[in-house]
């Protein structure tokens, strides 16, 4: 099923007699059970006001179309959404609706915010076929409950997005990366904490235990006007001199490549194994990574986001034990998925609320059933 308007989509959902697998570009590998409901036919940028930093697009609009429209005005999606295709081995065109439905954010999340922070408004069709709007196209809006945040990251389990309104930001004049070689994980996380605790506006902080030349590499990104970027790099270098790392600077072109690789977890592309995404308190990162006994590891968000590659079928959560955060199985074999839940199981009080919301927004339990726990 591939509706081309919001009304058609509402009719399809209202008339559905069984589970629906909601699909945008189909690149993020969630593949729930059910008849495929392809939303990519509902597409197009309907409003873009660069002077107001606002863009409104139908949910099925390819991310590439949105980014092309923005680039023409020297603007961008500041939350830097990951492209999952390389990691998941998928093809197709990621959609802007999929980005918001999955709250897909990249390295700049630590400075600028997540996808959910840039979502100003949504339109969606709930599991009963009702068309609902929430939020709007203005940057400040506290009129009623914030269902925009609720929909962002709900992976289609509460409703199917048909339109999103986004806050966009100017693309800075230039960018550069300070590259520190040879730090162990604990020192790397401490160095990244020092950088983020400075006034120098670091917009990316990643550590690769095995960097491009095999040794540990820590990277800090700075963006802005040329003179300001140079000034802040120098200040950061002085601030971190006590760590005794070898320091290099990567120019704008290399910086673009470096952070696209961090964003898309290029280190794991084409290598077998399950891949987990762990969000944690940054200073807990090194200890958690050690407990994971992973075959591959990438730290982003100054240590607060860890990508882990483990052998197929591993129940990573039992290795990690209890911690402040959550672990999501992003790439897993059918065997792993049958054994462990994709999303972190919630404490009972929270699970009850989640189940209650799903039962109200999707009373028949037909939207991506089984994906994020289940309805009450």
């Amino acid at each position: 099923m591939k509706p081309e308007t919001e009304n058609d989509l509402a009719e399809v959902i209202a008339a559905a007699s069984g589970p629906l697998a909601v699909k945008g570009g189909g690149t993020r590998g969630i593949a729930p059970q059910g008849d495929v409901l392809d939303v990519s036919g509902i597409r197009g940028v309907s409003l873009y006001e660069p002077g107001a930093l606002t863009l409104v697009a139908a949910a099925g609009t390819p991310v590439a179309d949105v980014e092309a429209a923005l680039a023409a005005e020297h603007q961008r999606l500041a939350f830097e959404p990951m492209d999952h295709r390389g990691l998941m081995g998928t093809s197709g065109a990621p959609t802007i609706g999929g980005v918001i439905a999955g709250n897909i954010s990249g390295p700049r999340r630590i400075q600028g915010g997540a996808a959910r922070d840039f979502a100003l408004g949504v339109r969606f069709v709930d599991g009963a076929g009702n068309i609902v709007k929430n939020g709007g196209r203005v940057m400040k809006n506290v009129t009623g409950y914030d269902l925009v945040k609720l929909m962002a990251g709900s992976w289609g389990t509460l409703g199917v997005l048909t339109e999103v309104a986004l806050k966009v930001l100017p693309t800075p004049e230039t960018q550069a990366t300070l590259v520190l070689q040879g730090l162990n994980e604990v020192d790397a996380v401490r160095a990244m904490a020092a950088a983020l605790g400075s006034p120098f506006e670091v917009s990316g902080a990643s550590h690769l235990p095995e960097g491009p030349d095999g040794g540990p590499t820590t990277m800090l990104r700075v963006e802005g006007f040329e003179a300001s970027v140079a000034y802040r790099l120098t200040q950061l270098q002085m601030l971190l001199s006590g760590f005794g790392a070898r320091v290099e600077r990567a120019d704008a072109a290399s910086t673009v490549r470096i952070w696209a690789d961090v964003r898309d977890v290029a280190a794991f592309h084409g290598i077998a194994g399950d891949v987990w995404r762990v969000s944690c308190k940054p200073s807990d990162g090194p200890a958690l990574a050690a407990r994971a006994q992973a075959q591959g590891c990438v730290f982003d968000w100054a240590g607060g986001l860890i990508w882990l590659r483990v052998s197929e079928g591993t129940d990573l959560r039992s290795r990690l034990g209890a911690f402040d955060g959550h672990a999501t199985l992003v790439r897993g074999t059918a065997e792993t998925r049958a054994k462990v839940p994709v999303f972190q199981p919630e404490a009972s009080g929270v699970a009850k609320l989640t189940a209650g919301l799903r039962a109200r927004f999707d009373p028949r339990g037909i939207l991506n059933p089984g994906l994020m726990g289940s309805a009450a």
Binding site: A52, R116, D117, A193, S283
Partner: protein, 483 residues
């Protein structure tokens, strides 16, 4: 503004409710004498007053849980209260309710500079959160103008903003986790020292829910290192439209100021008479502030001034020192006080797309003549959040009603222009009955379904946010159960 009739069955049980509350709280934390409950009769929307049946001042999550469990069992509505600074009547009691004030819960529970967060009890005031971390160079970014008095609990309930949110975002963008007590007394922990939700984003849902889903007792807040410095530039224009175009050009040029504030002529005149800030007499005044090191600020201001010059400003004044910065901000910060010197005023906070600014200001000017009430406009221009201040005379019969009618028309205009009813103050009772202007029945039904899940009996702050007629059936069920 209509409020539901108090439930006589609940009022008849007052003595028992008080007795049960006294068993779980210290004696001085249960206020039930009619002379004393009057202290809680209103918030900063002072035109509406109603003393509650009881007010309680718990000191811990445990005590809040006990209070809510008892009220749940007794079927008593609960109105949570931070510092009572809501301009929308968010903490306005009903005669049959228990006011749950968090003012005694103001401890800092944990400060973590490496991981850049602070965990506090939510009765702590906004400014004192920054106060707890500033000696280490850190601050908490959302800065509502009531920040000296307003509590984090209220900031979370209303998703408060401030003058600097163009760069740093509003409360929801700076809130990492909460401990929240549900109406039945159950305590839930959501989020924490990590980023983003592992499941549904309940934190984002709770923020801005106006105390209707649960009582947030503890909050984990993101803290940031202060910038090296900040400096504003002041510009005056002979035309609102030109000022609006200048804002748009600044944003398009790739500079992201931390604040862009706008004042119109009536507001400039009132402010000058009151604060003598030395503002130029013109149609529109902008204050644009940028941050960074001295050299970075110089570079950004040079670019901003170059853009401004293309719009023929009547005044262009760059701050060169802390004293000059203070002088530039003086008038803006005195604006509300200045308007208050002239008369009583009502402050609105509708938000519009920045591109609609000239049209909306022109229409407000025309409507001001039609209603015979003066309006001054202060405006967070970067994000489209307006603050029209309508002057009226509270002692003149009918003037408040006329002012409310005018205010409602302005908010409808904001929605028509593609904006919304409220950008940072919240709906409360003030904009409750206008919700149908912005939202269709299915939109409101989806929001009320959320409340059904969190508070099935509609006991928490029940008469707010949704038009009374729209929520009547749901609230009616609770009232029946209480009898």
């Amino acid at each position: 503004m209509e409020m539901p009739k108090p439930n006589s069955a609940i009022l008849a049980r007052k003595a028992r409710v008080v007795e049960r509350l006294q068993k779980v709280l210290p004696r001085d934390a249960v206020i039930h004498d009619e002379a004393e409950t009057r202290a809680y009769e209103c918030d900063a929307l002072t035109a509406y007053r109603c003393p509650p049946m009881v007010a309680v001042l718990p000191t811990s999550t445990r005590e809040v849980s006990d209070v809510l469990r008892i009220c749940h069992e007794e079927g008593v509505p609960v109105v949570p209260r931070g510092s009572g600074t809501s301009l929308a009547g968010g903490a306005l009691p009903t005669a049959d309710c228990v006011i749950l004030g968090v003012a005694r819960m103001n401890e800092v529970l944990e400060t973590d500079y490496d991981n850049r967060f602070i965990r506090v009890q939510t009765g702590r005031t906004n400014l004192s959160v920054t106060g707890a971390v500033e000696e280490n160079g850190f601050f908490y970014a959302p800065d509502p103008s009531s920040q000296l008095a307003c509590a984090i609990a209220g900031n979370i309930a209303m998703n408060s903003g401030g003058a600097h949110c163009l760069k740093y975002g509003v409360t929801t963008n700076n809130l990492m986790g909460v401990a929240m007590v549900m109406m039945d007394g159950e305590v839930v922990e959501i989020g924490g020292a990590h980023l983003d939700a592992g499941g549904l984003d309940l934190l984002g849902l709770i923020c801005g829910s106006e105390g209707q889903l649960g009582v947030v007792t503890e909050a984990t807040l993101r803290i940031l290192h202060k910038p090296e410095g900040a400096r504003p530039v002041l510009m005056g224009f002979d035309d609102n439209e030109v000022a609006g175009a200048c804002v748009s050009d600044i944003i398009k040029a790739g500079v992201l100021p931390v604040a862009i504030e706008f004042m119109d002529r009536p507001c400039i005149e009132a402010t000058e008479a009151f604060a003598h800030a030395g503002y130029p007499m013109c149609e529109a005044l902008l204050i644009v502030e940028v941050e960074g090191s001295d050299a970075e600020i110089d570079a950004q201001l040079a670019l901003i001034m170059e853009i401004a010059r293309k719009h023929d400003p009547v005044e262009l004044r760059e701050s060169k020192s802390a004293e000059e910065s203070a002088a530039i901000w003086l008038g803006r910060k005195s604006a509300f006080g200045a308007m208050g010197q002239i008369n009583d005023y009502m402050c609105l906070d509708g938000t519009i797309p920045v591109s609609s600014l000239p049209f909306v200001l022109r229409r407000i000017g025309e409507m001001s003549k039609e209603y015979g009430l003066k309006v001054g406009n202060v405006f967070h221009a970067g994000d489209g959040n307006m603050h029209p201040l309508i002057l009226f005379d509270a002692n003149k019969p009918g003037d408040l009603e006329l002012c409310e009618e005018f205010g409602a028309e302005i908010l409808k205009l904001c929605v028509e222009a593609g904006g919304c009813l409220t950008g940072e103050h919240g709906v409360g009772i003030e904009k409750r009955d206008l919700m149908t202007v912005q939202y269709a029945p299915a939109d409101l039904e989806a929001q009320m379904a959320v409340k059904d899940v969190f508070d099935p009996q509609w006991l928490l702050n029940p008469a707010k946010v949704f038009p009374l007629a729209v929520s009547e059936q749901r609230r009616g069920t609770a009232a029946l159960a209480a009898e």
